[in-house]
Symmetry: C2
């Protein structure tokens, strides 16, 4: 039998512009307790995971987001041993964190077990992280988990969905304040902080709140081809200071990266002018954003 229909998946970033995928095969389409999950196969980007109709990862380009959310904080910390990941159910962030020799324990708190199951079944290059004995996987609410933690983590990474529906609690002053408390002295918090080009209001809100809680808040960026335009990451230092680079750990780990490198480590903090205005508004942003 010849079939004439064709499935396309599109995600609009604004009223008129979006991303479109030619779908070869739907591998999974289900409603979990928290959200709609879909995994589909494509020819050029491998498998794609979407949550509530938004692209989370594609096998082809997930390395960019995951390398950048993990290695920038880890290589700017002098000796990261214990890391907390909130969200990140596909496993990609944990995979990158666990490549660092210094890491002794990663607590990962994912609210939706179905995302982990989908990754284990369909995304082997990401779910490989779940086999690492240093990973302590907790199925639960990150907001609740972090409430009673104190001086426990060197680095906290918030690898969340958008500040709507189930992700909302991960974008509040209360949660950021609990995270700060959960960090050890000299600790670093990084979160995915949305697209300044397509969602400037979200980005503005995130940095407003982070700035109320943390002494030093910066922002860095990466090109994530299947996210809406330039992507931003919040970078917060519990006790202030500058963005550093741990040359010794970098050389000793001797890892191969596909996106991250020492130049990118610093250059990613240089922001386009429109973005400086969103992130550093009301401050002397020409000075505050300099990294070295």
């Amino acid at each position: 039998m010849t079939t004439y229909g064709r499935v396309e998946f599109s995600e609009f970033h604004s009223e008129s512009v979006g991303l479109i995928f030619k779908v070869e095969k739907i591998l999974l389409s289900k409603k979990s307790k928290f959200q709609d999950l879909m995994v589909f196969e494509t020819k050029s980007h491998g498998r794609v995971l979407t949550l509530d109709g938004l692209v989370m990862v594609t096998e082809k380009d997930e390395f960019i987001y995951h390398e950048m959310i993990a290695h920038v904080p880890l290589y700017s910390h002098p000796n990261p041993k214990k890391v907390l990941i909130i969200g990140g159910g596909d496993g990609g962030t944990a995979r990158e964190v666990l490549r660092h020799k210094s890491i002794e324990q990663v607590d990962m708190v994912e609210i939706d077990e179905e995302v982990i199951n989908a990754s284990k079944e369909f995304l082997p290059t990401m779910s490989v992280a779940f086999k690492d004995s240093r990973l302590n996987l907790i199925i639960g609410d990150g907001v609740e988990f972090v409430k009673d933690k104190k001086d426990e983590y060197d680095v906290i990474i918030i690898d969340s969905t958008d500040p709507i529906s189930i992700g909302e609690g991960l974008f509040t002053r209360k949660f950021y304040s609990d995270c700060k408390k959960a960090l050890k002295e000299g600790g670093i918090l990084v979160n995915q902080s949305e697209s300044p080009f397509y969602d400037p209001k979200w980005v503005e809100g995130i940095y407003d709140k982070l700035n109320d809680i943390f002494k030093v808040v910066k922002s860095y960026t990466a090109f994530c081809p299947t996210y809406p335009a330039i992507w931003s990451f919040g970078y917060c230092l519990k006790d202030g200071g500058e963005v550093k680079f741990n040359e010794e750990a970098y050389k000793s780990d001797n890892l191969e990266f596909k996106y991250y490198n020492k130049d990118i480590h610093f250059a990613s903090f240089s922001l386009p002018t429109f973005m400086k205005k969103i992130v550093y508004k009301g401050k002397e942003w020409e000075n505050i954003m300099r990294v070295n």
Copy 2:
């Protein structure tokens, strides 16, 4: 009468992934002597110009590409007076070049008069450049134009379409060699050099050829939301040297930019690892790409 149909425009960057626009109204759709032209209206991105089905500019985000192709070379030259633009029929690049006080003459060679006419009719924020008396507009083939030029230009900007069909001649060793000859001592050539994420083979070919002709060849990048992923620009110094920044001209011009700034000027030369391998392969790229 109610209409039920809806027009969507999609441009695929690979076999499975592309950009999709909801089209409010087709303003122009015609075949010129050289290519298919289309201008359509969208709600979130204003007017969009496509050539042979590829997005050239949208009113919302053209500032990124045009600021970056113009200001990086101009502010790294000590005193740019005469500039040659090859292509760039929409006028956006010329508009940005003409903002610099030092500029006395811009020769712009566009092969397709219909693109200029379309811009004049539909893209007023770009075609404003055509009213500037310092602009010398030539309708003709850039390859032919540059052949007999010698020591004439401080900066040459190649704002072309892709290395297929009519753009092809603008991606050859012969053309690059003629451009080098057309540059004055200390001159700088910049070209749009495609998407290293989606078209690495094109990018590799461009840098191979540039490297055969120019003493120093570097690459810098920008986020162009409606181009395929990260966008690259070739940066060539006729007589070698480093990437500089003309602080004096920058302060004296005192222009407002939406994307470009001094930090971005340097940071844009820091390339993701996969891109270094494409652009600086066979060279000690860890060293050669450092800018200061």
